[in-house]
Symmetry: C2
């Protein structure tokens, strides 16, 4: 049995996955904050999941962890996972020592990309576009995460598409993330409320001018990200997930309409049928945890020997 | 011996390549125009090259052809090669029947990408960015051309980076090609002369305002293309070629400076060291013809049987 964990800023999603890639158990629990709490979260999630799924700890062959932040996959180290209060943590080796099984750590967006591809049965070429606080994509080619040369594959959030756009947290102007990142939208909105993007949509529905502009920005930013992914890596489809997609069709239809509108004046764009090649990840999808389990199952043999 | 041809709008470059990927002969001759002239060009180029390189026709095991336009590689068909006056031509099968050897046809930019990677000894991950009349890139991953799902891999020329930019021939506004494509620059310049981009550079050197703006556009467009390639496919390096690079360092230094300037305000961009990851293809490089020869050498066995 392979276990996959998706450790988010507020909750951890854990799934038990058979050798046939079937999910046979799932639990969710609040995430910890800080190095020790994150490690305890891993150990406790595995224990709870085994109990809930009637899986013996001895039957667990691997654990994969998807986590936000910069991940050094070769060494299982997590860097700058700001939302989890982790600056640098050898998560794989510390967790593996506690659990007695091999542990692999992966960036959460890349894990979700792999999981989404598995759930769709699409292994040839797919991108997963994550619209969360920030914006990034994971690319899956021939059933494997596309890693690129230096870890910036799928970093479409920081491609500028407007030289006169808002300044991005990265220092550039007009990045895709300034248009469709939850953090950037909340800053541009600037009004109180715990769910700023939902507030923007509700206010736009009431005709508020600022909200209408920001909602349109979200749609055109996501549409730009889809175009970049297709016109560079040429993925067949783009699955869109992340916190902002909790708004469901209100987001999905808007992005689809933006793709259609942008293609109106361009026979070239129309020939790409981009509006038919996007799909929203269903709310509550276990894609990221499943992807983590799949990553974990590909533990190199030497690592199994080291911890076995 | 493998032969590679790069059929351009004005001239055809032909190389003879050993099994060790070494170029042992090269000729250049004017290109033909129209279906029959292009086929005759292929046959004549092979004949001349064999004579010049002291290679017997019987020793030629494959011919690869790089050609501008849309190429259906599976069927060896060329579509919409406007500069060559070809609308639809079964170039592989017709040429193969005349030459008695297997022939493979490939888009010229993709062939040049493969050839440039071979010349640099860079096989892991590289993009070749072609700044010609239009703008497109070829991506080489693990020594093979990255094809993507629908033939739009590397079509970075038609990613919009300015919603208020000039209208592109594709119908969108502010495409990278409107900034750094030779055709778009010539249209925007609008003055007589057979080498408009050179004229723009010369006029910019004299302080002409329009020319200064267009030259800056070229640099920022190419810099944007480099960023897109690194932040999507995450290639290690970007080799830049095409007609506009005939201006050598005047173009190369400008693109490098644009990458440095754009990164000034962004620690994220600075961390990518993009200015150190670009390189101009030397003038007269046989990259495209060599790449065509390499593509031709990978003829599927069934095709050899069919024409052998």
């Amino acid at each position: 049995m392979r276990i996959g964990l998706d450790i988010g800023g507020t909750k951890t999603d854990a799934v038990a996955v058979t050798d046939a890639d079937e999910i046979v158990g799932r639990i969710r629990r609040p995430s910890g904050h800080g190095d020790e709490a994150v490690v305890a979260d891993v150990v406790e999630s595995v224990r709870e999941l085994c109990a809930a799924s009637d899986v013996s700890a001895a039957d667990v062959t691997s654990v994969g962890i998807g986590i936000p932040g910069l991940v050094d996959t070769a060494n299982g180290r997590v860097l700058h996972a700001v939302n989890l209060g982790v600056e640098s943590l050898d998560l794989a080796s510390v967790s593996s020592a506690r659990l007695g099984v091999p542990v692999v750590v992966e960036n959460d967006v890349k894990a979700a990309a792999l999981g989404a591809a598995a759930l769709r049965g699409e292994s040839a070429s797919m991108a997963y576009l994550n619209l969360g606080t920030g914006v990034a994509a994971g690319i899956v080619i021939d059933g494997a995460i596309w890693r690129g040369s230096r870890g910036t594959a799928g970093e479409v959030g920081h491609i500028s598409v407007d030289p006169n756009g808002r300044v991005c947290s990265c220092g550039q102007r007009g990045c895709i993330e300034t248009l469709c990142g939850g953090g950037a939208l909340a800053r541009a909105w600037g009004r109180p409320g715990s769910l700023p993007v939902r507030d923007i949509f509700d206010a736009a529905d009431r005709g508020d001018g600022d909200a209408l502009r920001l909602r349109a920005d979200l749609f055109r930013g996501a549409a730009a990200a889809v175009r970049v992914l297709v016109l560079s890596a040429d993925v067949e489809s783009v699955v869109i997930g992340g916190g902002l997609t909790a708004l469901g069709d209100r987001v999905g239809d808007g992005i689809r309409n933006a793709l259609i509108t942008d293609a109106k004046g361009s026979p070239f764009l129309r020939s790409l049928h981009l509006d038919e090649r996007i799909e929203l990840l269903p709310s509550g999808s276990p894609a990221a945890a499943l992807g983590a389990a799949l990553v974990g199952a590909h533990t190199p043999q030497k690592e199994i020997a080291a911890h076995g």
